[in-house]
């Protein structure tokens, strides 16, 4: 579903993503972990076609994002790390915009929009301007926008940030449900407990390179901490465990 081949992104002399190779299959929830500045958001923006790679390829459903971006984006939904939306549009107008851009009919936008607003408890805010919504509500609206066209690939950049416990549970269940339907979910995440529960496979990124990849068990084994919790595994792989000692 998602294939990254030798993906590189450079900003001047700085290499944010350094030769990333990755293959995410259909029906999987793939978690992308890494410390701040590891290159997660840059990778996600390249997967969604918001950023052009310096080298390498992004394939979604086998379609090259570099050569046929419109076609590749057709079955892709995206939620960014900061849910910044057009503050002057109302909730329903935002859904209409996204639906219009995706070529959905008016009726379909209204039906599906109402469903997602009900799912995310945003029905009462349907006609309110987005600028008035809280961070969590905007996050939910971004999710609704990403899911409106029922994409087969969903890419989310830290989707749990700003959500209340109920919303967080809702999103976890939703993502698991989407994977069970055969859709691919690719997400970057900071909360290791959620990653452990939610993700089928994990990739740990450090300095733009993938330092570990596989199921949670495989990654534990790789770190040599078969019985340890994911936090210890993560800190060992990313070199973060040195910091507390040094402090």
């Amino acid at each position: 579903m998602i294939q990254l081949k030798g993906l590189i992104k450079e900003y001047g002399r700085f290499r944010a993503v350094d030769g990333l190779d990755l293959d995410v299959a259909a029906g999987q929830v793939y978690g992308f972990l890494g410390p701040n500045g590891a290159g997660k958001t840059t990778t996600i923006r390249m997967i969604t076609g918001l950023l052009r790679p310096s080298a390498g390829q992004v394939l979604v459903h086998g379609i090259d994002m570099g050569f046929e971006p419109e076609k590749a984006k057709t079955n892709l939904g995206f939620v960014p790390d900061r849910p910044e939306l057009f503050s002057y549009l109302s909730v329903i107008e935002t859904l209409r915009l996204v639906g219009g851009l995706r070529g959905l009919s008016d009726q379909l936008i209204e039906t599906r929009g109402a469903e997602w607003l009900r799912t995310f408890d945003l029905e009462a805010w349907r006609d309110e301007r987005v600028g008035q919504l809280s961070h969590g509500m905007r996050q939910k609206l971004s999710l609704a926008c990403a899911l409106l066209h029922q994409p087969s690939v969903l890419v989310l950049d830290e989707p749990m940030v700003g959500l209340d416990p109920k919303g967080s549970r809702q999103v976890k269940d939703l993502l698991r449900g989407l994977a069970a339907e055969g859709r691919t979910v690719f997400l970057s995440i900071h909360t290791l407990e959620i990653a452990e529960v939610l993700c089928d496979r994990l990739g740990i990124l450090l300095g733009g390179r993938l330092v570990a990849e596989g199921t949670v068990a495989q990654i534990r084994e790789r770190a040599g901490l078969s019985g340890g919790d994911l936090e210890s595994v993560f800190l060992r792989l990313t070199g973060g465990e040195r910091h507390p000692q040094g402090a």
Partner: protein, 554 residues
Amino acid sequence: MPGSLGLLARVWIQPAWSTLRRSGLGERVRLLVFALSGLAFIGLLYGLLKPVLVFFASQPEIGSLLVDKLIYLVFSFLFGALAFSAMIGLNGRLFRSDDAALFLGTSYPACDYFTFRYWQACVATGWMLFLFWLPLLLALRHARGAGWGWFFWGLVAPLPLLPLATSLALLPVMLVARWFPTRLFQRGLLGFGALLAVSLVTLLRWIQPERLSQPKNAVSAAEFLAQWALPTPDWSPAAWVVRAVSYFPERMAEAWIWFAVACFVAALLTWACLRVLGPRFLDTWLRQQDRMGGPARGGQPWLLNRVPRSVWSALLRRDILALARQKGQGLQALFLSALILVYIFNLQRLPLGDDEGLKGMLFLPSCVFSQLIVIAVAARFVFPTQSLDLKGIWLIQSAPVSRGQFLLARYVFAALPLTLLSVCLGAFAWPVFHPQGVSALAGALIYIGAPLGLASLNAGLGIAWARQDTIQAEDAITGPSGVLVMGLSFVYVLAQVVLWVPPIREAYRLSLSSRFQIQWWAWVAPGLLWMALHGWALVWPWRRAVRRMQNEGL
């Protein structure tokens, strides 16, 4: 815990002073330009008023009466304007300030916060009084042949008008805030203010006060004013100030008495307002918070709902809503409409007669003037709409919409209304100047071609220089990028008009000459430059926009 005046110093004056001290060169230059503009305005007004007042004062017997009537009219107008401005200022400062919750959520006395806002509004509206009064006072000093003592007295005497106007404005603001949403009140006041300003501008253009420079008209105006019995009641604050100013120094005691009356009433009213309304402020503010619980709704225009949904309509619909819902732009639209009306009105009244030479000579400058209006509209609406739209752009960019389609939609959205406006202006100018031959071709190409380039410059550079640090249209327009776009737009218009001069001159020469001998350089060189200019305006901004989108992943 600082009192209300301490708060005024800490929250308002001290930060402003430290910002000024820390500001960079660009910021200081802007401030200097702003200050120089203010001085230029005062100088201009002084220059306009001085001859009129000198003429009025020189009228035998009625001279001083005329001047007094004029000052009374000015102060009555200024007092009304001050009260109106204070109403807008107080409504915003008391009920719509972000820091209100910060102070009122702590144990800081609500009364002190109220008093602080009262004095802040009083000082903030005061500048308006002096911006108009200062040049008039200078002109009056000259007309009366008075000394500097009178001038300084004239500066001090109107001061009681400030707290008087603020106190009078406070009462409706507090009353309205108890029962109605202040947001609606603010919009109503701003709308009314804009209508008033537009009416005033239109009225001034109708009256044409510059006609007073002709002695015959000035005499008629003086005679009219002398016979006009103005009601100057004893209870009018404007009358107290006029008496305090005009009795000084000949009737010193009376001047002081009227000044004392103004001061006493101002102090009494201020004390009453602060004592009576101050303790009720917290309750009113809390009521207002309950009322503001309902956030702004989306209410989509009826027409937009009738347009079938597609990629194009979705993009254009969003652009229209972005433009329509930008804060403060409605008021600017009204002002620009007034400017357009005044331009058309003046165009129709140009005393050209049947002088074809004069018509031909003035046609190109009129093209520049009309394009200045198009530049103003583009800089005011097109540029900020694109420049402030960066935050949610991922919604569009992550959809299967090509970059070309996205940029083209933005260009069409900018170019269509600008071209329509330009063509309308051209349609008004055409019957006035009756351009012929090459002039007509130049006019047609300027009126149709220039807005296409201007749309490209403003929309393309709006995306290329998009701002992430602000959502205020005003910041985008007055920021360095906004000013630069305006400058480039002006150069673009001026350059294409200048490029039409050699062909028009050549055509004129040919019409006079008996031999048909074309000087090709007069056509080819400007033609090539003209094409290069339009190519630059249509391509360069979009190249920059694409580069920005590629670099920042938009």
